[in-house]
Amino acid sequence: MSKYKLDNTYRAIVLGGSAGSFQGITKILSSIPDNFELPVIMCLHRLKHVRNGFVEALSIKSTKPVTEPYDKEKLKRGKVYLAPSNYHLSIELGNNFALSTEDMVNNSRPSIDITLETAAYNYKRRLIGILLSGANKDGALGMKAIKERGGLTIVQDPNECMIKTMPESALEATKIDYVLKIKEIIEFLIELDKNYK
């Protein structure tokens, strides 16, 4: 009997992280099955002026390639996406990505709040938001938006985080369905994926 309430109605997973999240992310990406069904959309704080390298570094560790979407690129099942540096990444109506160079939000571009909020607007209850270690409150309002639209919210257990500000801010901002260690997030994702086979 699973400890999670899962079904196959979800359409996407959004994953946010900042300082101290890289290791957790690579563990997740190297552990999910290579035929994982749901698209995974990652918004991670990164150096603004370093355009290349990061996506390659993540790809090496991942069971499937990680790509930075182009503006208006169609979202596809089974793909792993990363918000490009110095752009906000939104989910646009019609299941496309949209990029923007608007002002920084929470001192960040890409801002996790923006990716999470637009995904919540688009997918409503069929969205899973996961927020990992980080040193600012970016992502908290995004998680709140996901919860308000009926989606599922998960944060990394603050006790496991290198810097716990980010998950703690989300816990203060809204109801979080599961507080999990990286190992458990991986379990969760593998179990979730079984619902799609």
Binding site: Y70, D71, K72, E73, E92, A98, L99, S100, T101, E102
Partner: protein
């Protein structure tokens, strides 16, 4: 974030279009909704209907709305590797066959890309061979661009970009600090023609050897991107260059086959067919 429905946004764009002729009906919804939310917060509106009412009774307010909806965040020498490519390959290539160059900055915002180009050309010693035209939809941002003054807080990033661009001087050589602003040397932009032009509804007004339209069309939906790209294509001489933002692509657009990729990393294309 206010609860803004798509139907609210459609009412707003239709009203602004019918009454004032500004056409935001094909803007990308995700960013457009954020911009409208920003206006509601800035002016303490409780709903989009309130905003619509205000625009109806106070026509001058629509200019402020246009200014807030268009995104005016820009940097000098954004993507320094791109500017090196323009300096080291694109401009020299055009000069192989042309004595002078016509350049169009489409959607120039507060002018940072124009200033970057002006500095680049000066450092190449060819300012007198190049005619720069810079256009935007928004009058107030054009006025700002004409003044060529940049908030000093932005200059740290601009300086860093310039260093990565490997310019031949120091960026500080080109401006004086005054009242919290970097005032660029007026000689840099004295030959730039700043004009109001609407990419969405405006026509073809000139032919160019080089068109820069970076991170402008990302605010449009795909239909509008296609329309605007047709205009940009038509505004180019054959073998002229089109440059878009590093995360934009011509792959999905209808006129892709009329261009070849010159540099995929920097999104530099060359027109090969009329």
């Amino acid at each position: 974030m206010h609860n803004i429905e798509i139907t609210d946004l459609k009412k707003l764009t239709q009203m602004v279009k019918d009454a004032y002729g500004y056409d935001f009906t094909n803007y990308a919804m995700s960013s457009f909704r954020r911009r409208v939310n920003r206006i509601l917060e800035l002016y303490n509106f409780t709903s989009v209907s309130n905003l619509i009412d205000k625009i109806k009774v106070q026509p001058a307010f629509v200019e402020e709305v246009v200014n807030e909806i268009t995104v005016n965040v820009t940097e000098m020498f954004r993507d320094p590797s791109f500017w090196r490519e323009v300096r080291d390959h694109i401009i020299p290539n055009i000069l192989l066959n042309h004595k002078s160059i016509n350049v169009w900055h489409a959607g120039c915002s507060s002018g940072e890309e124009v200033f970057s180009m002006a500095i680049l050309l000066r450092e190449m010693g060819i300012s007198d061979k190049v005619k720069l035209i810079a256009t935007d939809l928004d009058n107030s941002i054009l006025n700002k661009a004409k003044k060529a003054t940049i908030p000093i807080k932005n200059m740290e990033l601009n300086e860093k970009n310039y260093i990565r661009f490997q310019g031949s001087a120091s960026l500080s050589k080109y401006y004086k600090e005054q009242n919290g602003h970097a005032v660029l040397n007026p000689a840099l932009v004295e030959n730039v023609s700043f004009r109001k032009h609407d990419l969405v509804q405006g026509g073809i007004f000139n032919k160019f050897d080089l068109v820069l339209c970076r991170n402008v069309m990302i605010y449009f939906n795909q239909n509008l991107q296609n329309d605007v790209l047709k205009k940009l294509h038509e505004s180019l001489f054959k073998y002229g260059y089109l440059i878009i933002g590093s995360k934009e692509s011509l792959i999905w657009c209808e006129i892709a086959n009329k261009f070849i990729v010159v540099n995929n990393e920097e999104k530099i294309y060359k027109k090969i067919r009329e």
